[in-house]
Symmetry: C2
Subunit: 258 residues, 2 copies
DNA sequence: ACCACGGTTCGAATAAATGGAACAGGTCGC
DNA sequence: GCGACCTGTTCCATTTATTCGAACCGTGGT
């Protein structure tokens, strides 16, 4: 396999509980000869992708990746708008907010605004979840056509819980509903007792789409509060859509969102 | 050159005002034939390092890097401690706080806690600056031996302003002073009218060292306030040092820090 | 229709990656 | 102190991926 693929595989080996890797770690995990791995890691270090801890033969992720990733999430007008709106809603409601993007069939958490409640819902930055079983995920999928959604999911859905869509038909039903009202919710799907309400906005000019949601313990929130959260999110999305020229929200009558 | 080096070079081409790259962009910038670049970018996309914007032939940084970079800065006990302390100080003083590491001769901003003042000091996450001319940088350099500092800087220093150390001798003087008192300040060095006060903490077990600082407009802060900031930072560093077993702060008498 | 421009494909020459074996350094247990 | 063992590195002939120029395709402009 090419050096590049191997390098990417090495990067993927780093996980939250594996922040350092050794030559044998990688060799075992990837089934490559030690000699190749030794050279590969050294090459990755020399090119800045990795660093090795001072005296030790352990490798960590290099600062280059941190810098690049940082650039990647900055300077996006849409992100700035979404963050500002979400921050305001989070401060107002004291709940936790997330901004996510679609990456294949997963949602990837790009930003988090921790709530001030005692019980916080914590999905760490950079973590993934199946898009079809999350509020943010379905808000994003609803922006795609049904055909696209189907082709994204060639295999049968594997719902993480009973509340998640069990198959493609019920997923498309929920997406259709999301398209009608503009927002989307998930109750006790991926995580028990977690209720999330999400909206999605798109900046066609930059080919960027984000979903943002509010997450809170389902048991603590009344119907009325939930309604006001929907209102806050859809209003925010509408303001953003206005600024970036997202036609999607223009076609949604305000009364349906309430 | 090897594929890996070329890939790293491509990643380095992404800057804050260059979030998308095309084949010819890269070919021109790196002086490589278009065909090679075309293959390289495609390979990088296939391995997850890059993504190309839907219909267009433009490439962006892939989500893999974001995930990896996110891991990289999480789960560090020292970072958690430093962040908690700095957050408290920032809320207290309403100024901006930064956490940085040393990367070669540069400091790299890992975390930022924006202040609540009207005039905020903004150095974006992931940005670099010459270590010798910043408070955080010198706090980190002070942890190194003079020999190490000298060998890091083979070339004459290029101070960004008159207040920065002009040569190695005056840099070492300031480092020596930092080692005596435990903290470090930079007044109008890298950025005009910006005053920063920094301390550094090290977790030897994990081979991690961070500096954190408070930055504020120099003109707005009295001698007395500055003193109390020094106190807050050194107290915080001492608490962290206690927890992670950083011997450095044990040898510093508390009265010298005041 | 033509041209200019950006991207891709092709194929032979080249340079780089590969992996087994041998080597080096360290630690552990006896 | 010694050997067994584990880790990482170096070496080298072999393999194979990568390279680069040139030809090829689409598109957008005039």
């Amino acid at each position: 396999m090419s050096t590049l693929e191997n390098a990417a595989s090495v990067l993927r080996l780093f996980t939250a509980d594996r922040l350092e890797l050794t030559v044998t770690d990688v060799a075992r995990a990837l089934g490559l000869p030690k000699s190749s791995v030794s050279r590969l890691l050294k090459a990755m270090r020399d090119s800045g992708l990795l660093t090795n801890v001072a005296g030790t033969p352990r490798y960590r992720v290099g600062t280059l990746l941190f810098e690049i990733a940082q650039l990647h999430q900055q300077n996006s007008p849409l992100m700035d708008l979404a963050e500002a709106e979400l921050r305001a809603i989070c401060q107002d409601t004291r709940h936790t907010g997330y901004i996510s993007i679609l990456d294949g069939t997963d949602v990837l958490v790009l930003r988090m605004h921790p709530g001030r409640e005692a019980l916080r819902v914590v999905t760490p930055l950079g973590s993934r979840a199946a898009a079809f079983a999350t509020a943010n995920g379905r808000a994003l999928l609803a922006r795609l056509g049904n055909d696209k959604v189907r082709s994204l999911h060639p295999n049968p859905l594997r719902p993480p819980s009973a509340n998640a869509p069990a198959d493609m038909t019920s997923l498309l039903d929920r997406l259709a509903q999301a398209r009608r009202v503009g927002w989307c919710e998930a109750i006790n799907e991926a995580i028990p007792d977690v209720h999330s309400i999400a909206v999605a906005v798109e900046d066609a000019a930059n080919a960027e789409t984000f979903a943002f949601c509010l997450s809170f313990p389902d048991s603590k929130i009344s119907q009325v509060e939930s309604r006001s959260i929907v209102r806050a999110l859809t209003d925010a999305a509408r303001r953003i859509a206005e600024k970036v020229g997202d036609r999607y929200w223009q076609s949604l009558p305000a009364e349906l969102a309430a």
